[in-house]
Subunit: 148 residues, 4 copies
Amino acid sequence: MMTDPGTGPRPAAMLALGRAVLAQQPFSTMLGAELTAFDGSIVELTIPIRADLLQQNGFARGGVLSYAADNALTFAGGLTFGSAVLTSEFKINYVRPARGVAIIARATLVYGGRRQAVCRADIFTRDDAGAEVLVAVAQGTIAAIVTS
Amino acid sequence: MMTDPGTGPRPAAMLALGRAVLAQQPFSTMLGAELTAFDGSIVELTIPIRADLLQQNGFARGGVLSYAADNALTFAGGLTFGSAVLTSEFKINYVRPARGVAIIARATLVYGGRRQAVCRADIFTRDDAGAEVLVAVAQGTIAAIVTS
Amino acid sequence: MMTDPGTGPRPAAMLALGRAVLAQQPFSTMLGAELTAFDGSIVELTIPIRADLLQQNGFARGGVLSYAADNALTFAGGLTFGSAVLTSEFKINYVRPARGVAIIARATLVYGGRRQAVCRADIFTRDDAGAEVLVAVAQGTIAAIVTS
Amino acid sequence: MMTDPGTGPRPAAMLALGRAVLAQQPFSTMLGAELTAFDGSIVELTIPIRADLLQQNGFARGGVLSYAADNALTFAGGLTFGSAVLTSEFKINYVRPARGVAIIARATLVYGGRRQAVCRADIFTRDDAGAEVLVAVAQGTIAAIVTS
């Protein structure tokens, strides 16, 4: 799957599949999360920042960033297996306050095995001029759900 | 602060303060998160499981669990400093599917320094008979926000 | 295996097995690591602090602590499967400088599944009077090595 | 410091400084660790694989990889502050067995603040033909040691 990054019908088909999965997740829908790009190696998840995603100081909550990281990692892993997956574990470092109009999480596969994938994600905020700032970095394990 | 666990006015006052902070977080309010207990060493955060917190397979989303872990860790760290804090980083392992009527995150301080605290959290689900099952474990760093 | 903690021949037999495994690890032998206790739920690994385990400031290197954490987590997971295991991933927070005469890592199983276990470890140093201080905490995933 | 990557005297001077620091670490010396490159943004630490770094199955121990990751992260963070640093915490995912003639850890700065840096590391093994394979990935926080 990763042999043909950025070209051909595969990334577009995968992106469509990912969007169908995301649309079935009430929590993702509630957050307004969208899969906005997939070029064959990087999955991009975008969440518009709304008033109800903020914490008391006006920044987007860490919980929203960790959701974005977790879900982007999951989709990056899902590309490896082309099947149902779940996040086994992940770690996130918050590096800057998250202010702006949107949160963008970009995740890539670092290693894909038979049953597990290790992925990394960079989480940015975008301001209304389109400039991006790195706000968090994450790393985690995605497991294929084996149904037998 | 940790010298008088479980007794006296301090835990109750801290719990009230924590609830006031939580009430100012739109994201927490949207999720229905509540601080349900603090005995001087363990902070308990509870989130009723609603339809919009689920993922496509009917389990509560990892993102809800990681929010619960993150926020419980933050409150556990906040008790150390008695001031504004934020989560610097954390790691979570999901161990079982999260089904039931509520998510309960219990966090404790492992180490409290001058500027940083290290905390752990156990995240459970509770079924309608009140039985709890461990669904995730987390560990992270909470930093005091220094305003000078 | 965890049904009879602290009693019966099982913990003693497991400890003997663990020691045989450790004796086959040249790196562990070089470090002087020993399995010093197993009561059915907590595995204890001890490393005497020698001059060549120090860093330039006279404290034991983080690398020694992370080795201790990693290996104690692995043994705690190994008790679940009773077979060959390896550490898939772990996270460690260093909380205090490691000075004293020995490093002691105590690990426990948090969750044991069919193929994976999640464990936690507390790492202490012991001074020459026998007093212990917590210096690091860890959490990680141990996988059973499936040979088929 | 990161404004002039790969050119000028700065990287060479930093590399020399890093080597002096490493030479003062008995544990690093025992392991045979060497700082083999620094181009202004990537720090490279190399450890020849010797018999006493192996575990019972003939692969290099996870503990050696985590040492390599930890130390490479520390050096990458040290470049931010140009002063004494220590690893606050890190996380490592092992992705493949570590066999070959050397372990190479390459770390970069992801974010550098006033007191803390977040870094990532990729850990490879090199075989006797010079081919490299990714065996682990890590992410962690490096803190400046403030002496006041």
